[in-house]
């Protein structure tokens, strides 16, 4: 039995992101790609489930950036049994979650895993999130913002975070889809030498797919947030700042 994990490369928000002259997409030159951190958690949760259940983990991703290999090899080095890269004519196209789900749905139907995990969200989510979108297309039960999972009598239990510390404990009948907020433990470390070894020995399977003709949401323009109201800055030494703060608090009867 298998657990599929969907991995996606996304622009790294550590960098300063700039908008292309066209105005409705990012300036590719300023973008470096990293694995979506929630997908990293999804992979970790999948590996933990598989370690307990004996399932095999399959890492799947659509290569829109040309840089997906690293993430797939790392998944193999961490313990995934297979890595599948979906390739096609989408060099540097931004795929909406809807388009992504359209591409993934038939692949997942073929793979027939009993569980699909992916990150709860990604920084470039404009049209919702991947997990519920996939669930709608596949007709499988779903839950997102999941912080813990376990198999129990062939069924899947998932803990969904609400707010204020409250959670909803759900039971789902496989095949099911989960959007992971956080794995039960921090994503494990795999030494570079092991990844390099995997790169020499393992193969990533490639499947050709077509760009779907699904109309996406059309971005009219991207812009930087207006720094509308900025805080009034207190300057000087720490002592001076502290004095000012105490003045402010006294003036408002807060001290």
């Amino acid at each position: 039995m298998t657990i599929a994990v969907i991995l996606e490369q996304v622009p790294d928000v550590v960098e300063e992101l700039a908008i292309a002259p066209s105005g409705n997409e990012l300036d590719r030159d300023t973008v470096t790609y990293v694995l979506n951190e929630y997908d990293d958690h999804a992979l970790e949760e999948a590996l933990l489930l598989a370690e307990a259940s004996g399932d095999e983990v399959i890492a799947v991703g659509i290569d829109t950036t040309g840089e997906l290999d690293q993430a797939l090899y790392t998944a193999l080095a961490k313990g995934a049994k297979r890595a599948i890269k979906l390739v096609g004519d989408f060099e540097e196209t931004w795929l909406s979650n809807r388009a992504t789900a359209e591409i993934l749905a038939p692949i997942l139907r073929n793979l027939a895993p009993r569980l699909v995990l992916t990150g709860v969200q990604a920084p470039d989510d404009l049209d919702g999130q991947l997990a519920p979108t996939l669930a709608a297309l596949l007709g499988w039960p779903h839950a997102s913002v999941v912080i813990g999972t376990e198999f129990s009598d062939g069924r899947l239990r998932a803990r969904k975070e609400l707010w204020g510390g409250m959670t909803l404990l759900l039971e789902l009948e496989p095949p099911a889809i989960l959007g992971i907020q956080a794995a039960r433990q921090a994503p494990r470390y795999v030494p570079v030498s092991r990844v390099r070894q995997v790169m020499r020995e393992a193969t990533i399977e490639e499947i050709e797919v077509e760009l779907p003709t699904q109309p996406s949401v059309a971005v009219e323009r991207l812009r930087l947030p207006e720094e509308a109201s900025q805080a009034e800055l207190l300057t000087g030494s720490a002592a001076e700042i502290a004095e000012r703060m105490i003045e402010l608090l006294r003036a408002r009867g807060l001290l």
Binding site: V14, E16, V34, R188, Y189, P191, S193, V195
Partner: protein, 433 residues
Amino acid sequence: MDPSLEKVQEVWERETAIVEGVDISGPWNRMFGQRVIWDYTPELIEEIARLPGGESFAWCYQCGKCVPVCPVDVVGDYGPRKLYRRAQTGINLLDSPDLWLCTTCANCLRVCPKQVDMIQIMPAAREHAMLSGRVIPSELQEALENTAKYGNPLGQPARKREAWVKDAGVPVPILHQIQRPVEWLWWVECYPSYHPRGIDASIALARIFHALGLDFAILGREEKCAGDSQRLAGERGLFEMLAEENIRTLSKYEFQHIVVTDPHALNAFRKHYPKLGGQYDVWHYTTLLARELSRLQPLLVRPLPYRVTFHDPCYLGRHNGEYDAPRQLIQAIPGIEFVEMLRCRENSYCCGGGGGGMWLDSFAAGHQRRRLSEERVLEAVSTGADTLVVCCPYEVSRFEDAVKSTGNEGRLRVRDIAELLAEAMGMIGEATA
């Protein structure tokens, strides 16, 4: 008797031995090899000794000379002899927090009669722990992942590595812009490029190089971490990957020598890059400036009325043999009163940053009475010095934090040698304490 025990009971003795006129025949020159204590087996020792690089772990014969010079034992409970004893009594080093407390300062190796080499044992054991799936401290994991992703352990974008240059106040040529041969390729490293106090030292050094008319340039964003500390933390694969990339980048440019700010980078280039294909003539900046002292001296115009003590960095001193150059530079500054700490030169007391220690601070805090950097700062204060001078980029931030946490703010300032020199040259104002 259990046949496996035979091979471990070894006693060497020369019946007749007269050394330098002294008769030490017979039992006087007896040396014991590894001896097994009943009920304990050497398996855990052998597991380490079997690792490439771990062989010398088995040579320890418990003399204990290493423990008093181990900086971690001074604030905790540590030292190669203790690690060996613990393994002997059934505690697996690979599962113990002990695995992550060694800073690879090499003071133990300096005094060990059997040459038990923690500098090789620790990275080997740590690598084995990682490969066998053991969980590593999370702060370290983050630093390693950042290094792999961004080329620096701080998680800063590569592009920003050369950003400090615009505040230098003097031209700092960047090779990918100037595209011409230079005499000196200045390898800046990560903390001096990204950390505010590291940048202070870089700016000072840039101004000194400029004043000396040195023909230099930096790599800027193309430079990636030399990775020596990551290697010692167990990530040999990461080190090799970085070295391959750095060597490839360096091969694009023409230069005659490399000058480094960071003794850890010095160590990597001198000892580990050659076998990976990178052979360079590497200098630490203090060695270079000491060589240029006759030209530097007339520029040291502003006397500094400081009582100064110097911390020998482990990787410049013990590991790479440079003790004099920093002292020559400090003592060339007019007005300086120089005092040595008791634990100086070959016996210098580690700041705690090496061997991955820079990224194991919160982990180590759970196993030590106080930080190594705090211990060292207290020692500096006890000399009556008002300035602690360093020349390794890990040290400035570690010691400044320790000055605060030991309650010595205002009593001791921490300066890189470059900052001190630049101040004496009138090229930087007095930085805040």
